[in-house]
């Protein structure tokens, strides 16, 4: 099997037109139907949050909405799970620094 094939080729994807989103001021291309996390991964970006205590970089880990490591600030709203939220044209994603629990009963 070809080594250089991509996931999209494997499933014969013919997505609708790509659109632009921005991540920390950088313009990226996303495909309709992709989550924010998937759009970031496809641009080679693996981290979009820093931890509250150590300030360490984190991104998607569990991929299915359970670990909360992928929290991002999306259109000024913090604490969104990037693996669940679909990317939309014009979305502004910013690295979420620190603070966690705000307003959640965990």
């Amino acid at each position: 099997m070809a080594r250089d094939r991509s996931p999209a080729e494997l499933v014969g994807a013919a997505p609708e037109d790509p659109f632009e989103i921005s991540f920390d001021g950088r313009t990226l291309t996303a495909l309709p139907g992709q989550s924010v996390a998937a759009a970031l991964w496809s641009a080679g970006i693996l981290a979009w949050r820093t931890t509250r205590h150590g300030g360490r970089a984190r991104g998607a880990f569990c991929g299915i909405g359970q670990c909360y490591d992928c929290l991002a600030t999306i259109n000024d709203r913090p604490n969104r799970r990037a693996c669940l939220v679909p990317a939309r044209p014009g979305d502004t994603i910013t690295t979420q620094e620190g603070h966690g629990h705000a307003g959640l009963a965990v």
């Binding site: 996931p7 994807a13 992709q34 991964w41 569990c62 490591d69 709203r77 965990v106």
Partner: protein, 496 residues
């Protein structure tokens, strides 16, 4: 099938009680819902996701236009068939519904109130309730994670998570991905990553595969499992992937992201063998140590659990999939990890049993078809137990850790801090460790670190597994406002 995006769903979807509410639209829940509906029940099917299929049949969003989604799945025809039955049925599919608790309604065990928040990530903050006479819990599993130095570095992702991101978003975490941990899922993940274009330099499995050979009966009785293993095995060979058993990733290297991993040999107890470490260059690591049933909704209602051969807890179920609480059924991974085909079989039994109860027709459960389904289930469960026993984590895994390794990813609690709580403050269980260190108190409520914290709390030489099933008050974190809006006296009334 009446279906609409969750936020615009007409309020009448939440009005009259349903005969059956199914929580989880994976193989188990989907099969349970259509089976019960075909027998005449009114059914609501709730899932956090916008699409049915669960973890196994996770599919790209329609806008991605995948014409061959089946290239990433086995047994696609079974799913196509389920979707067809769902379309043809009157099942009300409530997508984007994050169920956070199930409560008894005013009629006791004959009425249940399912509480959910809506929206893609539960941030829609629209609290809704669905009332039902019976409930089928089909919430699946989460991945068991065991920490090791470097596991919080970007580029380290869950093995099932990598699979999920690939199936739904058609993306890879890197170009050269080592797959590691334990359990049969690793082979499936490695073969899909390789098929999608990633180089997989190694699959690193901490157990041997001899455990299967010790129970040849279960293997012989489950030829489809052998076939599945052969398919993965052949795919891995074709892609030049090496399987290293009795080995573990004991360190991840890199500063901003993964650059390499150290793979060490481990002994039977998963203790690393000194001097065997070998470095493998990669830009991502997909890791997982088996799956853990998600049972919170059931345990908070008092449903009994059983200990599984790989040290997790699953719901205790009777021959017709009913939990110890009458009126609540469970199917699929909630009753023990066993794979997609078992989940479908159990969903069919549970859907039939719920219909028999609601319709007052116990004979439905004595049909030839149900007897055959039960036989199939028992056979597959026996195999699942063999599989679980072959991959039970050895107690020596704790030696992968150094004191600086974060165990709790959310609260950044290190192995050193937990060991101190155990050695100096006498903590002996996960709950005390949590109070002393905050391990397990973060956003994920201990889903990622729970197994590890329990092992560390039990101290050296203890069993490798948690002493008691986890109890989380809420199955998903909910905004405080939603809790505040709840009126305890009106558990069965309409919301807002």
């Amino acid at each position: 099938m009446p279906d609409s995006p969750s936020d615009e769903r007409a309020d009448d979807a939440y009005g009259a009680p349903y005969d059956l509410a199914v929580i989880g639209a994976g193989c188990a829940g989907l099969t349970g819902a259509v089976t019960a509906s075909e027998l005449g029940l009114s059914v609501a099917l709730l899932d956090t996701s916008g699409q049915v299929g669960g973890q196994f049949y996770r599919t790209p969003a329609p806008a991605l236009g995948a014409v061959r989604p089946e290239a990433l799945h086995h047994d696609w025809s079974a799913f196509a068939d389920l979707r067809r039955r769902l379309e043809a049925s009157a099942v009300v599919h409530l997508a984007g519904h994050h169920v956070w608790t199930v409560a008894r309604g005013s009629e006791g065990d004959t009425e249940w109130v399912v509480h959910a928040v809506t929206g893609v990530d539960g941030c829609g903050e629209r609290p809704v309730r669905v009332r039902a006479r019976t409930v089928l819990l089909a919430t699946g599993a989460s991945e068991r994670q065991l920490p090791f130095p470097g596991w919080t570095l970007p580029g380290v992702v869950g093995a099932g998570g990598a699979q999920a991101m690939l199936k739904s978003g058609l993306v890879l975490p890197g170009r050269r991905v080592v797959v590691a941990g334990s359990g049969p899922l690793l082979l499936a993940v490695a073969s899909s990553l390789a098929a999608a274009g990633a180089r997989v330099p190694a699959v690193v499995e901490a157990s041997g595969y001899l455990g299967y050979a010790r129970r040849p009966g279960a293997l012989a009785a489950n030829p489809h499992k052998l076939a599945e293993a052969l398919v993965h095995g052949a795919a891995l060979l074709r892609h030049g992937v090496r399987l290293r058993t009795r080995s573990a990733v004991t360190r991840v290297h890199g500063t901003a992201r993964v650059e390499a991993v150290t793979v060490s040999r481990v002994d039977r107890d998963w203790r690393p063998v000194q001097g065997t470490g070998r470095r493998i260059a990669c830009d991502a690591l997909a890791v997982g140590h088996g799956l853990v049933p998600q049972t919170e909704l059931a345990t908070s209602l008092g449903c009994a659990t059983r200990r599984t051969p790989d040290g997790t807890y699953a719901l205790e179920l009777d021959g017709l999939q009913e939990t110890s609480v009458p009126g609540l059924w469970a199917a699929g991974e909630t009753g023990g990890i066993g794979g997609a085909q078992l989940a479908r079989t159990e969903g069919a039994i549970a859907g039939t049993a719920a219909a028999a109860r609601v319709l007052g027709q116990p004979a439905l459960t004595r049909s030839r078809r149900v007897r055959e389904l039960r036989r199939r289930r028992d056979r597959m469960r026996a195999f699942a137990d063999t599989m679980a026993a072959a991959h039970v984590p050895g107690p020596g895994w704790v030696q992968w850790l150094n004191d600086a390794t974060d165990v709790c990813r959310c609260e950044e609690v290190t192995a050193g801090a937990i060991r101190e709580a155990v050695a100096d403050y006498g903590a002996r269980d996960a709950r005390t460790v949590k109070l002393l260190t905050r391990a397990g108190m973060g956003w994920c409520q201990g889903r990622m670190c729970g197994a590890a914290v329990a092992c560390l709390a039990a101290g050296p030489g203890a069993a490798s597994v948690p002493p008691s099933p986890e109890r989380r008050p809420l199955a998903v974190p909910v905004p405080l406002g939603v809790l505040g809006a709840l009126d305890p006296d009106e558990a069965d009334g309409p919301v807002s």
